[in-house]
Symmetry: C2
Subunit: 229 residues, 2 copies
């Protein structure tokens, strides 16, 4: 019997590569996506296609309305910043930060893992490009793993430990893309833009598009997505 | 300016007493309830009435569908156990346990607290009566507090610490009721039953009703709710 893993799948480049890594390590994958009132809802269609493409054991889309609390450019009617250089991107916690988002996402992963009796959770966080996000740091992940093992039946019974895997955490975007290509990821399915057009065309100028384009460029590859001129 | 606190309010006896304690300590209260597909949805009407009664600064009801994952008698079509004695109640993790529920609830409290710039979260968990629930243990709460301070802007900036308050954690049900009565809680508004009738009449025979009735009895008080004969 294969070991089971829950993979947080946004439909972006990082989470899709993470899914490919989990599959490559032999896990039976249970993918979890969130419909959280994000502007870039076309991500969810991509997540569905990617889950199908990788023949996951199950794919759940959980609806939660993070707009109800407000406080982020990804869910509010605040403009997403564009054309920023790397120094500007990393100078402070970005306005695209959604309060406690990864804590919430990981909590649902934990519930899903507990129901499916999975002892592994894969998360595509990255501490290099997203240094401004508090909940992408390694110490946050370690603290969540500790919590997870106290929060669940498995933890109480002390039999087995739940592990949070973050295979991308120390990789550059170029490294991530190279690894994904090795594993056969079709990056034309993935969407990383914070502010895509309705059909899914990326803007090419938000932080996320700029990091992605730079990653492909540094990897010596061409991004298969079409960007506006 | 008053300090702000987010209080998790289910509409039950414990969370209502916790709200009264937070108010009594001088906090400006932001109440948060969950519509999570629980059988006992009449709780939410009570939560609304209680929030109004205590004149909270804001009350949010967050909808999340925990039924999607399954695995608990509180959200599935599994029978809620009845007529159990204390030994039976504490012998194992109960079927009424909802996987990772408190982790999920606390994560949303954290998001709400971060948006409202509140540094306090109050939670009515109890380690005496609910010894079988992994996510009601003091070590779970401590681990969440550590996580919360790593997960948020406040934590990154290292300015101020977020605190999780669990004023009931070591109290017996009788102590909780006595404390609530001192603070003027109207327990006729609260509902603790796992399986109430549509109008809100408690069953009187589930674990939660039995613990509540025993608490009132030990406190030498009469529960103001009407139970079936």
């Amino acid at each position: 019997m294969k070991n089971k893993a829950v993979v947080l799948l946004s439909g972006g480049l990082d989470s899709t590569t993470t899914l490919a890594i989990a599959k490559n390590q032999g896990f039976e994958v249970y993918a979890l996506s969130f419909d959280y009132g994000q502007r870039h809802r076309v991500e969810l269609e991509r997540a569905r296609m990617i889950a199908q493409n990788f023949e996951v054991a199950d794919h759940q889309i959980m609806t939660i309305d993070l707009r109800q609390f407000g406080g982020s450019a990804l869910t509010d009617s605040i403009d997403v910043p564009t054309h920023r250089n790397e120094k500007e991107m990393s100078s402070e916690i970005p306005i695209t930060y959604v309060p406690a988002r990864n804590t919430i996402f990981l909590s649902f992963c934990l519930a899903y893992a507990e129901v499916k009796k999975a002892l592994n959770i894969f998360l595509g966080v990255n501490a290099v490009d997203y240094s401004g996000y508090p909940d992408c740091r390694p110490e946050f992940i370690t603290a969540f793993e500790t919590l997870a093992n106290l929060a669940t039946k498995a933890g109480v019974e002390g039999k087995e430990n739940l592990k949070i895997h973050t295979p991308l955490i120390q990789l550059t975007k170029a490294d991530i893309i190279r690894r994904g290509i090795e594993l056969g990821v079709d990056y034309s399915l993935t969407l990383s833009c914070y502010n895509p057009e309705e059909g899914g065309t990326p803007c090419g100028i938000c932080d996320s598009c700029l990091l992605r384009l730079k990653g492909f460029s540094e990897a010596g590859l061409k991004d298969p997505l079409d960007y506006p001129e």
